[in-house]
């Protein structure tokens, strides 16, 4: 029969407060928050609201970040005092953990959102050309628009726009710079130098020992070129001559 003080009794009624409480308050106030998180490219600022992460940008100059944010999103962002489930999930993903992070892409156009969602499907260790994304979206002529949409990705790293490269498999542009893009891809196990080298030799696809053919950026397939069962292919016709079927994962040709 322990006596308890009033504070315990008082706070018991508020103890089950949900972790998203503050985010909802801030949504009502029209204010977003940000924290600085560790990423493969060094410290980044991660901003979020009640719907999800809104922005990822290099950390360093808070004032410049806040000005940029207000201009782009039309809302003020302030440094958060504490993390909540969204920022905690973002930190984990930036550390390389496999977690779902909600993102708020409402500031992007419908087309931009479709491009970003498609980019989000490309798993670590893979890369796809801009034209591939355009084709997958049913707009094969829109490769340049795809590049522009990825260039406006508000949440790089969380949506891995760095995994979309130029059609010649050179890295192409990136919000954090081309060198950072190459470093990220190589850190994920993609041998971009080898891919570029075979592409320069006119090789478009790689036939595999399981009877399929792939894009040279489908996982680590490029490292197998020259091994038994793997053939370098210059064209679709060549793939067909070998009786190979398109890989279901990298979908090298239109369905």
């Amino acid at each position: 029969m322990s006596e308890t003080n009033m504070r315990e009794f008082r706070e018991a009624a508020g103890s089950a407060i949900s972790p998203g409480f503050t985010a909802k308050v801030f949504a009502g106030c029209g204010l977003d928050r940000y924290v600085t998180a560790v990423s493969p490219l060094g410290d980044v600022n991660v901003a979020w609201n009640a719907c999800g992460v809104t922005a990822v940008r290099r950390a360093g100059d808070d004032e410049a970040f806040e000005v940029w944010y207000a201009e782009r999103f039309g809302r003020r962002v302030v440094r958060a005092v504490e993390d909540d489930p969204t920022s905690t999930a973002a930190r984990a993903k930036l550390r390389g953990e496999q977690v779902d992070v909600p993102t708020d892409l409402s500031e992007c156009s419908e087309f931009e959102q479709r491009v970003l969602r498609k980019a989000a499907e490309i798993s670590s260790g893979n890369a796809r050309p801009y034209a591939w994304v355009a084709r997958e979206l049913g707009a094969p002529d829109a490769a340049r628009a795809v590049g522009n949409a990825l260039g406006r990705n508000p949440v790089p790293l969380l949506i891995p726009c760095h995994r979309v490269v130029r059609t010649d498999y050179s890295a192409g542009g990136y919000v954090f710079g081309t060198e950072a893009k190459r470093a990220l891809l190589e850190g994920e196990g993609m041998d971009l130098g080898a891919v570029e080298a075979i592409t320069r030799r006119g090789i478009r696809y790689i036939g595999c020992d399981d009877g399929t053919f792939c894009l040279p950026t489908c996982g680590d397939v490029v490292s197998h070129v020259g091994q038994d069962g793997y053939v370098a292919l210059h064209s679709l016709e060549e793939a067909h001559r070998h009786g190979l079927q398109p890989c279901a994962s990298c979908r090298p040709v239109a369905a």
Partner: protein
């Protein structure tokens, strides 16, 4: 980062008010962190409805923010934050009750006079001693208090605000607040004693 440490240290009311005066947007999360458990608990107890409490409590902070936006820095700096937030919470609770009146019987008549059965439950110290086992009974007893005494009782005996703060919050004279809180205490005690029989 010092964010975690800042969140752990309780913020004195005057420091928070000063920070709000300096930069409302940056200071506001400190206010939410400092008062959210209290406000959610207060609303939950007043509504006797834990599920709705968070929504109403969120609204308390949003309205507080919108009001603060219209205040001059001097006015923000001079705010007695705690009673001010309780006042907003009290008003929103009143609206919520009006929109969805509770089904429970009141222990008191509409005019606020206690019923004969619980009119005088005997003298005792002006405090409520609680055993953990009695928490649910106390909440049940609070739920039966009339709207005339419940806010003063909860603010005084559960939230442990000063009479001065409660008078500010309810915009009533201190004497009225004391009388209401006392009547609430007697009624809750009577209810608890009835439970023990």
């Amino acid at each position: 980062m010092c964010a975690a440490a800042a969140a752990l240290a309780p913020e004195p009311e005057s420091m928070l008010a000063g920070a709000l005066a300096h930069d409302l947007d940056r200071a506001f999360e400190h206010v939410v962190i400092a008062y959210r458990v209290r406000i959610v608990a207060f609303v939950a107890r007043m509504l006797h409805d834990g599920a709705r409490a968070e929504d109403v409590a969120q609204d308390v902070f949003v309205r507080a923010y919108r009001a603060l936006q219209t205040y001059s820095p001097e006015r923000r700096a001079a705010l007695r934050l705690r009673s001010w937030l309780y006042a907003i919470a009290h008003n929103l609770v009143r609206n919520a009750v009006r929109d969805a009146p509770p089904a429970s019987d009141s222990l008191e008549y509409e005019d606020g006079e206690p019923r004969a059965a619980v009119a005088d439950a005997g003298a005792g110290p002006e405090e409520l001693v609680l055993r953990r086992e009695a928490w649910d009974s106390v909440d049940a007893a609070i739920a039966t208090l009339s709207a005339a005494v419940k806010p003063a009782f909860v603010m005084r005996y559960v939230d442990e605000l000063s009479y001065d703060e409660i008078a500010l919050t309810l915009e009533q004279p201190v004497g009225t607040v004391k009388a209401s809180a006392h009547r609430g205490l007697m009624a809750v005690r009577a209810q608890l004693e009835k439970n023990d029989e």
